[in-house]
């Protein structure tokens, strides 16, 4: 049972069939999935969703597959944490963490997009999947491909953190570490994708893949009580997640799962790679590519594919954007850990750091509901904090040693 009508160019509106297509032949714009919302309304009710298993496929009508989901059957439905200690630390009334640092199986929100991509790749008849990744996508494609018995080719920049490399290799994909930054990896992959018959999740099946991110947004709305929070702060790399959270809100309104929304969306990036934040702050339609230089490697995309739409999302919602220094990233990682007991990766440090600055500057009011999007796990980027968290106290296995070194 499919609710997908087809694909449509985001730029010029031309329609395309639901095939392995991703770019408009006419204007080179990206294609997007179009649904039959009238039909979706009939089956996708609150009661129906609530009666389904607690995973991302509970919103299946709004996802672009034709058959049954086959992958990521335990992905999604991650905790929505009311962060009281952090709220106090930041001086705000109502603060929530949408915590995809514990998404199944690879501890980032990328498990959602990959679940959709692999289910769709199989529908298209592919037996090999591939991706260009800043790390988290690599982990997820490798893991879910292993479980799905698909072959995988994973392309990453050669300087990724050890956690991201090991967290990919363990699943035995073909891992290709390219001497270059992500934008160079991506360019290489466009050429590879044109030549090999693989499902490149974020290239030739990108329109389908990207839809998986919407489930992060749907869950925020459901877990907030089938309402939309007032402010959502989102980390941006390619700019897809932020765009899809906005789409999720609009779709829930469209199919009647929420009544209204007054949500403002905020983009967070690192100073060393902030092309989207710059465009928003300069009120420019043009995303100027940059050469990334930041510890937030998962967000180090200098030429973001959906940068324009990310900036439009922020503008349309009435939100804003903020970037943070590497030092602020580390401070925010520590703050989240030490107030809420959640260890996030550098991307989460970027998001919380930006949220903190937005609150302090008055861009986000202190008395309205705020959601901070934590999208990845700190155990994967230990290099970022290893020298900044002190050391264990070493003692001999005797009471006197304990009292000498620790006791008062």
């Amino acid at each position: 049972m499919s609710f997908v009508k087809g694909l449509k160019c985001r730029e010029c509106g031309r329609h395309y069939p639901k095939e392995v297509l991703y770019v408009c032949e006419y204007c080179f714009g990206p294609l997007e999935v179009v649904y039959d919302y009238e039909k979706i309304k009939e089956t996708l009710t609150k009661e129906a969703v609530e009666s389904r298993p607690r995973n991302m496929w509970r919103y299946r009508e709004l996802l672009p597959i034709d058959g049954k989901p086959t992958d990521g059957l335990n992905s999604g439905f991650t905790p929505f944490v009311e962060a009281k200690n952090l709220a106090k630390a930041l001086g705000v009334k109502e603060l929530y963490i949408k915590d995809d640092s514990v998404d199944h199986p690879t501890l980032s929100f990328k498990d959602r997009v990959v679940a959709v991509a692999l289910s769709k790749a199989k529908e298209f008849g592919f037996n090999t999947v591939a991706c260009a990744s800043t790390g988290n996508l690599a982990n997820s494609v490798a893991s879910q491909a292993a479980a799905a018995r698909l072959k995988s080719y994973i392309f990453i920049p050669a300087d990724l953190e050890m956690g991201k490399v090991i967290g990919t290799l363990i699943y035995k994909p073909t891992l290709i570490a390219v001497e270059g930054n992500y934008d160079e990896v991506n360019r290489l992959c466009s050429q590879v994708a044109a030549k090999y018959k693989w499902a490149f999740v974020n290239i030739n099946i990108r329109p389908y893949y990207a839809e998986g991110s919407k489930t992060y947004g749907y869950e925020i709305l459901e877990q907030f009580g089938w309402k939309a929070p007032r402010h959502i702060v989102v980390p941006c790399a390619g700019g897809s997640l932020i765009t899809k959270i906005w789409k999720a809100i609009k779709e829930f309104k469209e199919v009647g799962l929420i009544d209204t929304y007054k949500t403002k969306i905020y983009a967070a990036q690192a100073n060393g790679c902030a092309p989207i934040v710059c465009a928003i702050k300069e009120n420019s339609d043009i995303i100027k590519p940059v050469k990334p230089n930041t510890i937030a490697k998962s967000l180090a995309i200098g030429n973001p594919a959906d940068g324009f739409y990310a900036a439009s999302t922020v503008r349309e919602s009435g939100g804003w954007a903020e970037s943070v220094t590497d030092e602020e990233i580390v401070d925010a990682i520590k703050l989240l850990a030490q107030t809420e007991g959640i260890f996030t990766e550098t991307a989460g440090g970027v998001t919380l750091g930006a949220a903190k600055n937005l609150i302090e500057s008055g861009r986000i009011p202190k008395d309205e509901s705020i959601v901070v999007c934590i999208t990845g796990n700190g155990l994967k980027t230990q290099e970022a904090v290893i020298d900044k968290i002190g050391n264990p106290i070493k003692i001999k296995p005797t009471l006197s040693s304990f009292e000498e070194k620790v006791g008062k």
Binding site: C12, E25, P30, I176, R187, S190, P289, E383
Partner: protein
């Protein structure tokens, strides 16, 4: 004044299958008009209804992205080379030879695996070296655009 323009594969239907064409123009805006005279329909593909360069088409003047110059007001001079490249192709005026070389890992984080990647797991790590060529005239090769 002659300017060389590299045309991406999807637009070559309009340039009678030529991947490089020549024209005279003072600015990028001029160039589009001039191209449209010689190859009718090209302007509609390069610009939107408002005459603005399409968002997912990148234009380079001698390998410099016009987003870093003066956009379509960027001035041109005799001998300039202009490349039109769909953003989806990675959007940079760089041709490269990707040589799959088996080098030692450049990342210290990989040292736990030892110098050689034999490993029982049989995981392959392929270090790819990218050799970039930004000089078209010497290369004389067309940038690979997506089909």
């Amino acid at each position: 004044m002659s300017i060389k323009v590299r045309v991406p594969t999807p637009l070559q239907k309009l340039t009678r299958d030529l991947d490089t064409v020549e024209c005279n123009a003072k600015t990028i805006k001029d160039l589009v008009e001039s191209l449209d005279k010689d190859y009718p329909g090209l302007k509609g593909r390069i610009c939107d209804e408002n005459g603005k360069i399409r968002r997912f088409l990148n234009i380079y003047v001698n390998d410099e992205d016009i987003r870093f110059l003066e956009m379509d007001r960027t001035e041109l001079k005799d001998g300039d080379e202009v490349s039109i490249i769909p953003a989806i192709a990675g959007g940079q005026a760089v041709t490269f030879v990707s040589a799959f070389l088996f080098l030692s890992p450049p990342h210290p984080a990989l040292s736990p695996f030892g110098g050689e990647e034999k490993g029982e797991g049989g995981n392959s790590i392929i270090w790819t070296a990218m050799i970039r060529h930004t000089n078209y005239s010497k290369e004389g090769k067309k940038n690979e655009a997506i089909r």
